[in-house]
C-alpha cells in the first residue's frame, strides 16, 4: 500500500463531526492530515449525519439563534439532565467555547436554518443545520478537501500503536486490505460502541439484542476497546447507553430521526401483557422523551404499545410508519399481537379513572387520572373515539457513555500519565462531560469544541 511510505503529521481516526473539525484545524496550520473513515463514502460522517442542531451559548441574537442563552443557564440545563455526572471545568469550557464555534462553522461552509416546524422550543438554544447533519458533514468534507486533507473511506482501524505513551501509527484495513498508516500525532474521533450488540449485551444483559440502533452501524467501539486494553483512562458508566422509545418497526440500524414517536403523552402505553407500567403524562414530551427507552427496555421482550384514539391522531409529528388501526380496542389489540380482551379491560379501567377537565396539548394541563396505578398525571383523556390507533415501541439506542478520559486540551491519559501525542474528540470522550442523560444538540457541541482543540493541539505538537 502506498500509505506505508508516508508519515503523516496528523492521523485522524473517524470521519464524523469531531474528526472533521480536528482535520480542518490541523490542516489550516499547514500540517499533512489523513482522515480514516470506517464507513464507505455514502455512509460517511458517523452519527453526525443523523444530527440536526448544535447547542450554542450566546449573549445576544447570533445567526439563527434568538434572544440569549448564557453560560449559567446552559450549565444548569446540563446539570439537570446529567444529575451531576459531569466535569464542571470541562463542561463550562465547552459551553463558553460553543459561542465562538458557530461563526467558525459558518466560515467552513456550514449553513444554519431557523428552528424546524415542531421544534420552536429550541429556537433559542439550538442552531439547526440547513439540511441536517449530513449537509454539515458534506460541507466539512469539502472544506477538508480544499485544504488538501487526504480521506480514506472503508478504513477500519484495528489497533492504535502506542509505545510508552507515544503514538507511532495505526494498523487498519482499507477496503479489506491490511494497511499501516504512520503519523506523528493522532486524534481519536471514532465514536462510541453502540452498534456492537454483543458489547451492549455484555454490558446491559441479553435484552440488548432486541434494541434498535438509531445511528450508524459503524460505531462498534473497536478503537475505544483497543485504547482501554492499552490502559487508557476511561470515564462514564460502561453499562449504560442512551436509549429512547422509537417505532418498533424501524430498521435495525440507521433509522435516524424519522423513527421517533411523539404520541406517548396522548396515549396509554401497555406492555406485551396489555398492562400499563408508567405515567404517560409525567411531563412535556421533550423532557420525558429520553426516559422511555429504558422503560420499554425493562418490559418483557423489550416492547410496548402506545394506544390512542382519533382525538389525538393529529396531535403529534407524523411518524414514518402509519399506525395500526382498528374500530375496536379488542381488534386493535389482536392486530398488535396482544390480548384484545386484556387491552380492552386496561383501557376501560383507564377511561373510568379519567376526570372531566380542559385538555391542553401544549402545556401541563393537570388533567390527571384518579384511582389507578400508575396514574397518568396530565393529558388524561378517555380513549373512546374510533378508529383506534396503536404504535409499537422499542428502545432505540442513540449513544453510549463509556469513553476515554481527556483533559481540557483533549489529551488522552494512559497508565504512564498524559500521552504525548494522542488526542480524543467527539462521542469517544463525551462521557467526560455528559455522564448521564441527554441534552439536545450537546453531542455536536462537544464534538466541535474538542475536535477543534484536538486538531490545533496535534498540529502544534508536530509543528
Amino acid at each position: 500500500m502506498t500509505d506505508n511510505a508516508t508519515t503523516w503529521d496528523v492521523v485522524i481516526v473517524g470521519g464524523g463531526n469531531a474528526a472533521l473539525c480536528a482535520a480542518i484545524e490541523a490542516a489550516e496550520t499547514g500540517a499533512s492530515v489523513i482522515i480514516l473513515e470506517g464507513a464507505p463514502l455514502e455512509y460517511r460522517g458517523g452519527n453526525s449525519r443523523h444530527t440536526r442542531n448544535f447547542r450554542c451559548m450566546h449573549a445576544g441574537p447570533l445567526s439563527v439563534l434568538t434572544d440569549r442563552y448564557e453560560e449559567d443557564e446552559y450549565f444548569d440545563d446540563l446539570l439537570r439532565v446529567t444529575k451531576g455526572e459531569t466535569d464542571e471545568h470541562l463542561a463550562r469550557m465547552t459551553i463558553r467555547t460553543s459561542e465562538t464555534c458557530l461563526p467558525w462553522m459558518e466560515k467552513q461552509g456550514v449553513r444554519f436554518q431557523p428552528s424546524l416546524s415542531g421544534t420552536l422550543s429550541l429556537s433559542r438554544t439550538n442552531a439547526f443545520f440547513l439540511g441536517g447533519g449530513k449537509a454539515l458533514v458534506n460541507a466539512y468534507y469539502n472544506r477538508a478537501a480544499d485544504l488538501g486533507v487526504a480521506v480514506r473511506y472503508e478504513a477500519q482501524v484495528k489497533h492504535v500503536d502506542i509505545q510508552d505513551g507515544v503514538f507511532a501509527g495505526v494498523d487498519c484495513e482499507i477496503a479489506g486490505q491490511p494497511t499501516r498508516i504512520n503519523g506523528k500525532a493522532v486524534v481519536l474521533a471514532s465514536g462510541g460502541f453502540q452498534a456492537d450488540l454483543d458489547w451492549l449485551a455484555r454490558a446491559w444483559g441479553p435484552a440488548a439484542k432486541n434494541f434498535l440502533i438509531r445511528g450508524t452501524p459503524y460505531n462498534r467501539g473497536v478503537v475505544l476497546k483497543d485504547m482501554l486494553d492499552q490502559g487508557a483512562e476511561s470515564v462514564g458508566d460502561p453499562t449504560q447507553c442512551h436509549a429512547v422509545a422509537i417505532d418498533g418497526r424501524a430498521p435495525k440500524y440507521d433509522g435516524g430521526i424519522v423513527t421517533r414517536l411523539d404520541c406517548v403523552p396522548f396515549s396509554v402505553v401497555v406492555n406485551r401483557h396489555g398492562q400499563r407500567f408508567y405515567d404517560e403524562g409525567e411531563d412535556v414530551w421533550p423532557k420525558r422523551y429520553a426516559i422511555w427507552g429504558r422503560l420499554v427496555a425493562a418490559q418483557p421482550d423489550q416492547v410496548a404499545y402506545s394506544i390512542i384514539d382519533s382525538k389525538s391522531i393529529d396531535a403529534f409529528m407524523p411518524s414514518v410508519f402509519p399506525p395500526i388501526q382498528a374500530d375496536t380496542i379488542e381488534g386493535l389489540g389482536q392486530q398488535l399481537g396482544i390480548s384484545g380482551s386484556v387491552l380492552k379491560e386496561t383501557v376501560e379501567r383507564f377511561n373510568d379513572a379519567c376526570r372531566p377537565g380542559v385538555f391542553k396539548g401544549n402545556e401541563l394541563d393537570g388533567l390527571a387520572t384518579d384511582g389507578i396505578e400508575p396514574p397518568k398525571t396530565n393529558w388524561a383523556r378517555p380513549i373512546t373515539e374510533p378508529p383506534f390507533y396503536g404504535y409499537e415501541l422499542r428502545p432505540g439506542v442513540t449513544f453510549t457513555y463509556l469513553g476515554l478520559k481527556v483533559d481540557d486540551t483533549a489529551r488522552v491519559t494512559g497508565e504512564g500519565g498524559r500521552m504525548s501525542n494522542v488526542w480524543a474528540a467527539g462521542e469517544i470522550m463525551a462521557g467526560s462531560i455528559l455522564g448521564q442523560g441527554y441534552l439536545a444538540g450537546f453531542g455536536m457541541t462537544i464534538g466541535t469544541v474538542f475536535g477543534r482543540i484536538a486538531g490545533r493541539e496535534a498540529a502544534a505538537y508536530v509543528a
Binding site: L116, F128, F129, G133, A135, N138, V320
Partner: protein
C-alpha cells in the same frame, strides 16, 4: 404508505413520491431549502393532486438529495428530486391537449430533431412558394402577410393547448381564484429563481455534486430573460408595424433590435451553458427518462437565438434567404412543440408557485 415501505417495485411514480414525501414529513431537516418542504409540513396525508403540486413546485435544486441521510444504499432509498421530476413529466403528459400529441417531444431528443427538419423544410418551401415580387430586408424573401399567415396560428394554437392543460392542472391541485398578491409572490419567486437559491442564495447542487453553486440558476435566468427579450422584440415589431406604420427592417437603435440582439445573445449563451452544466450533473437526480428530450429542447431554444443573431449578422448578404428559412423554421418548430416539450415546465411551475402562494399567504 404501509410497511411495504421496503418493497420498491410495482409503484407508480405518484405512489413512490408519496412514500418518499411521507418520510420527508417525518424528518423535516430540509425545510430551509425551498418551497416544497414547508408545503409538505402543512399536511399529514397526500392526495394525488398534492403530489402533483409538490412535483411542479420542485425546481430540482437537489439540495435535499445531498443532505439526505436516507438516500441509497439506505433501505428507505430516498431520491426526492428524481421521483418528483418523474411525477412532473407524467403530469405534463396527462394534462397535454390534444392527448394524441401528449409527450410527443417530452422525453426523447429524436422527435424534436425530426420536428426541426420538418419545420425547416416547411419554411424553405414557403420561401420558395410565397416569394414576394418585391420587399425590403427579409420581406424580400417572405412577405409580412406570409409570415403572419404562418406564425399567428403557430403561436396562438399552442397557447390554447397550454391553457387547456393549465386548467386541468388547476382543477387537480385544487387551485382557487387568483389574486394580485398570489401573482406577485409567484412572479417574484420566478424573477430571481428563488427556489434554485438553496434557501440562502448559495445556489443549488447540480454540476458539482454536494457543493453549492449558482451557475445553473444564472444560466437558467440568462435563457429565461433572453427568451423574454426576444419575445418582447417580436412584440415591439408588431406594435411598430401595426400601430405606427413602421415596417422592418429596423436599425440597430430601434426597439426590436435593442431588445432582440441582447435577447438572442443571452438565450444562446445561457442555453449552451445550461447544456454544459447538464452534462456534468447526475442524471438520476432529474427525470432520467426525459434526459434526451430536455437536452434537445434546450438546444432548440438556443438555436432560435443563435439563428436569429446569424440572420441579423447576414443583413444585406446573399445568406439572408437561407438563414431566414432556418431561423423561422426553428422558431416555428419551437412554437408548435411547446405544449408537448420541456417548455411547458415554465407554465406549470408558475401555476405551482401561484398555488403555493395561495396556501401560504
Amino acid at each position: 404508505m404501509s410497511l411495504d415501505i421496503l418493497n420498491l417495485t410495482d409503484r407508480t411514480p405518484t405512489e413512490e413520491a408519496r412514500r418518499q414525501v411521507e418520510i420527508c414529513n417525518a424528518c423535516r431537516y430540509c425545510e430551509g431549502y425551498c418551497a416544497v418542504f414547508p408545503a409538505i409540513t402543512k399536511q399529514r396525508a397526500f392526495a394525488d393532486g398534492d403530489i402533483t403540486q409538490l412535483a411542479n413546485l420542485c425546481h430540482n435544486c437537489r439540495g435535499c438529495y445531498y443532505a439526505c441521510q436516507y438516500t441509497a444504499p439506505h433501505e428507505f432509498d430516498l431520491n426526492l428530486p428524481g421521483i418528483l421530476a418523474e411525477v412532473r413529466q407524467d403530469s405534463w403528459h396527462r394534462y397535454a391537449w390534444p392527448g394524441a400529441f401528449a409527450g410527443a417531444f417530452q422525453r426523447k431528443g429524436t422527435p424534436i430533431a425530426l420536428a426541426l427538419i420538418v419545420g425547416l423544410a416547411l419554411l424553405f418551401l414557403a420561401l420558395t412558394a410565397l416569394r414576394p415580387a418585391s420587399g425590403e430586408g427579409f420581406y424580400a424573401y417572405l412577405s409580412h402577410g406570409g409570415m403572419v399567415a404562418i406564425f399567428a396560428p403557430a403561436f396562438l394554437l399552442p397557447l390554447v393547448a397550454i391553457g387547456i392543460g393549465l386548467r386541468r392542472y388547476w382543477a387537480e391541485v385544487g387551485g382557487q381564484r387568483i389574486t394580485f398578491a398570489h401573482l406577485r409572490d409567484a412572479v417574484a419567486a420566478t424573477a430571481n429563481m428563488r427556489n434554485l437559491g438553496g434557501g440562502q442564495g448559495q445556489g443549488c447542487n447540480f454540476e458539482e455534486g454536494d457543493r453549492y453553486s449558482n451557475r445553473r440558476r444564472v444560466a437558467h435566468q440568462l435563457v429565461m430573460y433572453g427568451f423574454l427579450l426576444c419575445f418582447a422584440s417580436t412584440s415591439s415589431g408588431t406594435v411598430l408595424h401595426y400601430g405606427f406604420g413602421l415596417e422592418a427592417p429596423y436599425g440597430l437603435f430601434s426597439l426590436p433590435k435593442l431588445l432582440g440582439v441582447p435577447g438572442g445573445l443571452l438565450l444562446t449563451i445561457g442555453a449552451g451553458w445550461l447544456i454544459r452544466l447538464k452534462l456534468k450533473s447526475d442524471r438520476d437526480l432529474g427525470a432520467a427518462s426525459a434526459w434526451g428530450g430536455e437536452v434537445a429542447f434546450v438546444l432548440l431554444l438556443g438555436l432560435t437565438g443563435l439563428t436569429g443573431l446569424a440572420l441579423y449578422a447576414a443583413t444585406d448578404t446573399a445568406l439572408v434567404g437561407p438563414l431566414l428559412a432556418i431561423h423561422l423554421g426553428t422558431v416555428l418548430t419551437f412554437f408548435l412543440t411547446t405544449p408537448y416539450s420541456k417548455m411547458v415546465h415554465g407554465f406549470y411551475r408558475l401555476a405551482a408557485l401561484i398555488r403555493d402562494a395561495q396556501v401560504r399567504l
